[in-house]
């Protein structure tokens, strides 16, 4: 319990819209041990990025955390004052954004941006800043000469790597990554993943890695969390999920990408598209697209069932005879 770097419980995020509100993250709970690599996967609009922003306290209106706690090293980040958050950011918790081109300041050199981050945390010695900046760039295999470079002078892969270097300036306990590789091609993607994993093993920070491409994290993450419609659909050890997915949605995602080796099979993907969260579903969110749907799925929302060391939100895993669960998402202990 206390050994965890991060404990998220019952986290819910709502977007306030003209015609009401949309529950983008619905009662999500999970925890991270030191040095653990958790991947969060799901389609566009499943709430994975919103969840991540909520954890990092980076949400801006109209998004708002309406419930739950984010305990980071024993402190609840939800509702924490800005200056307290500033003290934590970069130092204990870093975020690497999806598009490094937008996340880096285009009119400042990489070195100047590193300097900003270090100064914000009281490092003022120019010597110290220069040494550390060069050190972190070397860690991500970039020549320290590039501290003088501006973001546009670097390739996509190098930009993304320098973002990671910046995230590691203070050797944080947790690095949150939002699709850091999605703008890169396969070779750069692969080398970045290997690099993240190596750095993680070397420095022991925990990682939350959000991606829509399950195959990318298959060999890198310890645990995999599949999200659908703002909820956890299935969560468990990565290898187990790949070998034997228990939720029909996870199985569908697994079937969605072609393989480079082995027999060439016709694939169908997942029919339909992700649900519109503004229209609250009566039963299971996935029911309209589910190949294994049955009557109960359309009436009540499924809770998370523990299945062989994982949790699965699907009535197929209800061991007991159909028990009617009250219609409240608060009900089932959604903890991992």
């Amino acid at each position: 319990m206390s050994g965890n770097v991060l404990e998220v419980s019952g986290l819910s995020v709502e977007y306030l819209m003209d015609g009401g509100s949309v529950l983008a993250v619905d009662n999500v709970s999970f925890s991270l041990e030191p040095g653990e690599f958790v991947a969060v996967v799901g389609e566009s609009g499943c709430g994975k990025s919103t969840m991540l922003f909520a954890v990092a306290q980076l949400l801006t209106p109209p998004a708002e955390i309406i419930g739950g706690t984010v305990m980071f090293k024993g402190r609840n980040l939800v509702g924490l004052a800005d200056d307290s958050l500033t003290a934590i950011r970069w130092k204990d918790l870093s975020v690497v954004m999806q598009s490094a081109m937008n996340a880096l300041n285009p009119v400042k050199s990489i070195g100047a941006q590193f300097k900003d981050a270090m100064r914000a945390h009281g490092v003022t010695s120019a010597q110290e800043i220069a040494t550390r900046s060069a050190e972190v760039l070397k860690m991500v295999s970039i020549d320290p000469a590039h501290l003088q470079s501006y973001p546009h002078q670097l390739s996509g892969g190098m930009r993304q790597r320098s973002m990671i270097a910046m995230a590691l300036l203070f050797t944080p306990d947790l690095v949150i990554m939002d699709e850091p590789t999605s703008a890169l091609d396969v070779v750069a993607q692969r080398s970045l993943m290997v690099q993240i994993k190596e750095l993680q093993e070397q420095f022991g920070f925990a990682v939350i890695f959000v991606t829509h491409d399950m195959s990318l994290v298959s060999h890198f993450s310890d645990r995999l969390m599949v999200m659908y419609a703002g909820q956890v659909a299935e969560v468990g050890p990565t290898r187990q999920l790949f070998d034997a997915p228990q939720h029909p949605y996870t199985a569908g995602l697994m079937e969605a990408f072609p393989s480079i080796r082995g027999p060439k099979l016709p694939l169908a993907g997942i029919p339909g598209s992700p649900p519109n969260l503004a229209r609250r579903a009566e039963g299971c969110w996935f029911a309209p697209r589910c190949p294994k749907v049955f009557d109960r799925c359309k009436i009540e929302p499924p809770p998370l069932y523990p299945v062989q060391g994982r949790e699965v939100r699907c009535f197929l895993h209800d061991a007991a005879a159909p028990v009617l669960v009250p219609r409240s998402s608060e009900e089932a202990g959604d903890t991992i």
Binding site: S44, S218, R239, R261, K264
Partner: protein
């Protein structure tokens, strides 16, 4: 040679150089250098390579957006650069339309999606009456899986998902009765779960509508799923080409091996590939002779530094531009 022997599209020594720098230090960026390939009828050819390897430049050369620095493109045996009149150019762009990478930027957001299709039809098939145009628009929307067609035609782009918009792109292309669709990374911006539907659509267009497709991608797994033939580009040149399965099972060029080893494959038992590559594709500015992959190649020999390897046959229909592979030695660089 008889006319029937001509493939649908053929390029001969196609090159595109861009002048960069200023008058005092003029330099030339070789985006595409001496590329020759062909695309047959009802064939999906995958053009694979990293960012900056010249894939998109080739697409633009074929679509006549760029004019080649040297070399030629032949469509049904006729030189594309000789198509100068408005009528000839219109005809060609109808026969070989393009589908773009970003479905959010390639459709005009202020018009209903019918706008693009109907305009294309009016321009390229003026013989149709407005009623026939609408029927044809409905037909192509149904072919690409946008049903009910009459309803989808009336929507605005923002009402459609990324996958649906990309289907609109294919419908627009299909409305012109093309023989070849130039698809520049048509699935790379889409969610993994949506991609497979588009790949299936491409196979369907080939099988049912007799369309050939040049499928530009950096993902060999998607390429393998639909394509009949593979062309691997590196730094503006063809590194390897051949029948899809043959190249994947038996890759001869170290770069193809690198691409293969980088492709994520969750079905593989375990393990991160030992040989990882931290290199970047070079910008080819004022190149000197020699293999352009030599700086990243773990098996480079002396010849690689001085002689540019030619694309030569290695097996039936399988060609590679690699000195080591051509010497008959086994190539095992990555993976």
């Amino acid at each position: 040679m008889t006319a029937t022997a001509d493939p649908l599209l053929r390029t001969e020594g196609l090159s595109k150089h861009f002048r960069i720098g200023n008058t005092l230090s003029p330099r030339t960026l070789h985006a595409v250098d001496d590329v020759s390939f062909s695309i047959g009828e009802r064939e999906i050819v995958a053009l694979a390579g990293e960012s900056g390897s010249g894939k998109s430049t080739i697409a633009r050369l074929l679509a006549k957006i760029y004019r080649p620095t040297s070399g030629k493109v032949f469509f049904e045996g006729k030189s594309v650069s000789s198509m100068r009149s408005r009528r000839d150019r219109l005809r060609y762009s109808g026969l070989a339309p393009m589908v773009f990478q970003d479905p959010f930027a390639s459709i005009n957001p202020v018009f209903r999606v019918s706008h693009g299709v109907m305009r294309g039809l009016k321009l390229h098939r003026p013989e149709l009456t407005s009623e026939q145009r609408l029927d044809e628009a409905k037909r192509v929307f149904e072919v690409v899986g946008l049903t009910p067609a009459a309803d989808v035609l009336e929507r605005y782009p923002h009402e459609l998902s990324g996958g649906q918009r990309q289907r609109v792109g294919f419908a627009q292309a299909l409305a012109m009765r093309p023989k070849l669709i130039i698809a520049d990374e048509p699935v790379s911006m889409l969610d993994v779960s949506i991609r497979i539907g588009l790949l299936n659509l491409m196979a369907k267009l080939r099988d049912d509508e007799d369309v050939s497709i040049l499928f530009i991608t950096h993902d060999l797994a998607s390429a393998r799923y639909v394509a009949d033939r593979l062309i691997v580009m590196y730094a503006g040149q063809i590194a390897e080409t051949g029948p899809m399965e043959e190249v994947l099972v038996n890759p001869k060029h170290p770069y193809t091996q690198l691409l293969l080893s980088a492709a994520p494959d969750p079905r593989a038992p375990l393990g991160v590939g030992a040989a990882t590559d931290r290199g970047e594709p070079p910008k080819v500015i004022n190149p000197t002779p020699g293999c352009r992959f030599r700086w990243r190649c773990p098996i480079a020999i002396d010849a690689c530094h001085t002689i540019t390897p030619q694309l030569l046959p290695i097996a039936d229909g399988h060609e590679a531009a690699c000195h080591v592979a051509q010497s008959g030695a086994e190539v095992k660089a990555f993976g």
